[in-house]
């Protein structure tokens, strides 16, 4: 009994940390621009595909798990950061002053575009990440199995999140981001280059998403051009659960969602797990209308 619980807990934390990484991209963009960036999930998906291509058609993978993985992740994160800036410039920057919903539809357009681009480049069938035997090493700790890949996902995500948290809380740049999130106009008057902050957000978010994408590819091995939708929905749910615009909230929300999902799959049924997740989400929002940790978004009254 306890073993199943712990097993699902480890699985949940693994998936949850991926959700957290993707949710951070949502919540940071939301915090600064009040925009639900539906295209974010596609960057995660493209990151996963790009990692796949680098692994299959170059020899980077031969450098071994350590360096090989680091180089691939850095390259993919860089590429997605560039794409993130480009998307912001083309699809969101012109709409900064025009209501809440026009940018959302623009984001949906970008999402459709990227999804179909991926389908044209990599085909509409499932692609499989090559087997990387070293990643399947397993340990047994107190009756619970954990693979090296799970350990990497947990380690990398938690470290990245701690790094981001410290950056936001401790550095001048972080203070500027927080100020921009509270009030763009005032931040501008205080000498903060709001456009630069927005560009920076669109570097960090997609880069984190891309890291998550590569790790998910290595973990589940299966790739499909629609995977962006699925993860995007989950990550967005996670961001809302934690309280949107709230960076620790996205981290907690992602973990919470991952654990919920895996416990739901383990104890209820795999077919009903998403229903379980959304019912909990709705119940949570009825009780706490601004998520677990509350939102950090100044509301215009």
């Amino acid at each position: 009994m306890l073993e199943l619980f712990l097993e699902q807990l480890v699985n949940g934390l693994t998936v949850g940390s991926v959700y957290s990484l993707v949710a951070l991209g949502y919540t940071m963009v939301y915090g600064v621009m009040r925009l639900i960036n539906f295209a974010h999930g596609e960057l995660f998906m493209l990151g996963s595909y790009l990692g796949f291509t680098l692994l299959v058609s170059t020899s980077i993978g031969e450098l071994g798990v350590g360096w090989g993985l680091i180089i691939i992740v850095l390259m993919v994160a860089g590429a997605m950061a560039l794409l993130g800036i480009l998307i912001e410039r083309v699809a969101y920057a012109p709409l900064r002053k025009s209501g809440r919903l026009a940018p959302v539809v623009s984001a949906l357009g970008v999402s459709i575009f990227l999804q179909n681009a991926a389908m044209l480049i990599w085909g509409s069938r499932y692609r499989a990440y090559p087997v990387w035997a070293a990643l399947d090493r397993r340990w047994e700790i107190g009756g619970v199995h954990i693979t090296l890949m799970q350990a990497i996902i947990l380690g990398v995500s938690i470290n990245l999140m701690l790094l981001l948290y410290c950056m936001i809380q401790r550095t001048t740049l972080g203070a500027a981001i927080r100020a921009t999130a509270i009030d763009q106009e005032t931040a501008r008057l205080m000498g903060i280059d709001v456009n630069a902050i927005i560009r920076f957000i669109f570097i960090i978010g997609p880069a984190l998403g891309a890291v998550a994408g590569v790790m998910v590819g290595l973990y589940y091995r299966q790739l499909h051009f629609t995977m962006g939708w699925t993860y995007s929905l989950k990550a967005f749910t996670a961001a809302i659960m934690g309280g949107i615009g709230n960076i620790p909230g996205a981290m907690v929300g992602g973990m919470f969602l991952g654990i919920l999902e895996m416990l739901g799959a383990g104890y209820i049924s795999a077919a009903w797990k998403d229903v379980f997740v959304f019912v909990i989400l709705i119940a949570l929002l009825i009780l706490r209308p601004t998520g677990l940790l509350g939102e950090r978004v100044a509301e215009k009254v």
Partner: protein, 323 residues
């Protein structure tokens, strides 16, 4: 001044609308069954767009799970007809009322949620319903295959079965709905809705019962979507969960925003764009959806207010945005 110009414009506008309506009456006799069918589906989308426009456009509530209400209507008709054999003519209003009732029950506990929280909850409702339909509770919904063998509507001796019958059914219902909504827009309720959209706190302070007004919008929108779902069910005779996915909700949401929030002609233009653009792009073969996505971005960037924004919106917001 505006009132005078509107009064002067009125007969001419009525003439244009009259001519358009005549054109719509002649259309199925000239166009052949294929295009009549296309026009019928277009009409169903207009109906769905109008129903979502009440919620998103008029009141500004972010609902990205509208396909749930559409599904409720379609499945009500499908299940009640195939299991209990209730004639589909009766089920048309029943589906509307049931979908509206569900709309009330489902949104009552979440109506206080703001903006994006409401958005994710409506997406959640859509997903919950879709997965439930697939999982086939009590063998009612037929799982992934859906409900088969829904009977056609029978009006006296006329069985509504040919494309032209459906065309006129949809045309009549849509016209009635458009007329009703135009009046509703100008009524106390319509103005209250717009007030809530622009400034909820001020609306509350002016004595508008924000909660009931929002609920009313959801009930009306859900009910109308239910009617559209019922028509869809009798037209297709088969319904399956695939037709009511999150993607469907996104298309409807896009129709409203692309057309122009709270604008009835906007909904019609928006539905036309979302239906006709993919057809026009057919020449691009596999690049079709790629261009479609790009077109969505371009349209929003160049016309963020929508393709046909509502007059009231322009008059009120125009001054503010000019700066």
């Amino acid at each position: 001044m505006e009132v005078v110009s509107e009064a002067k414009e009125f007969p001419r506008r009525r003439l244009i609308y009259g001519a358009l309506f005549l054109l719509l009456l002649i259309f199925p006799f000239k166009a052949g069954p294929y295009w009549t069918d296309v026009a019928t589906f277009f009409g169903i989308y207009v109906l769905l767009g109008l129903s979502l426009n009440i919620i998103v456009g008029e009141v500004g509530l972010f609902n990205m799970g509208h396909a749930a209400f559409y599904a409720l209507g379609a499945y009500t008709t499908g299940i009640l007809n195939t299991v209990w054999g209730i004639p589909t003519v009766w089920l048309l209003p029943v589906s509307g009322i049931l979908a509206g009732g569900f709309g009330y029950l489902l949104t009552r506990p979440i109506i206080h949620l703001r903006g994006d929280y409401l958005l994710i909850v409506t997406i959640g409702l859509n997903e919950i319903l879709r997965i439930t339909l697939i999982n086939d509770p009590w063998g009612l919904t037929g799982g992934p295959n859906g409900v088969l063998g829904i009977k056609r509507m029978r009006l006296g001796s006329l069985v509504i079965s040919r494309p032209i019958h459906f065309y006129f059914l949809v045309l009549i219902i849509t016209t009635l709905v458009v007329m009703a909504l135009l009046r509703l827009q100008r009524s106390r309720i319509g103005r209250a809705w717009n007030y809530i959209r622009e400034d909820e706190v001020a609306a509350e302070a002016m004595g508008i019962d924000v909660r009931s007004m929002k609920l009313l919008a959801f009930v009306l929108g859900a009910g109308l979507a239910g009617i559209a779902g019922s028509i869809y069910a009798t037209k297709m005779m088969i319904i399956s969960p695939e037709s009511f996915t999150f993607w469907e909700s996104i298309v409807l949401f896009t129709i409203v925003v692309l057309g122009g929030m709270g604008s009835i002609p906007g909904v019609i233009v928006g539905s036309a764009v979302m239906m006709i653009l993919p057809e026009l792009l057919r020449d691009f073969m596999q690049y079709r959806m790629l261009f479609f996505g790009a077109a969505m971005v371009v349209m929003m960037v160049f016309r963020p207010q929508g393709l046909w924004p509502s007059k009231r919106w322009q008059l009120e917001m125009g001054r503010e945005t000019e700066e």
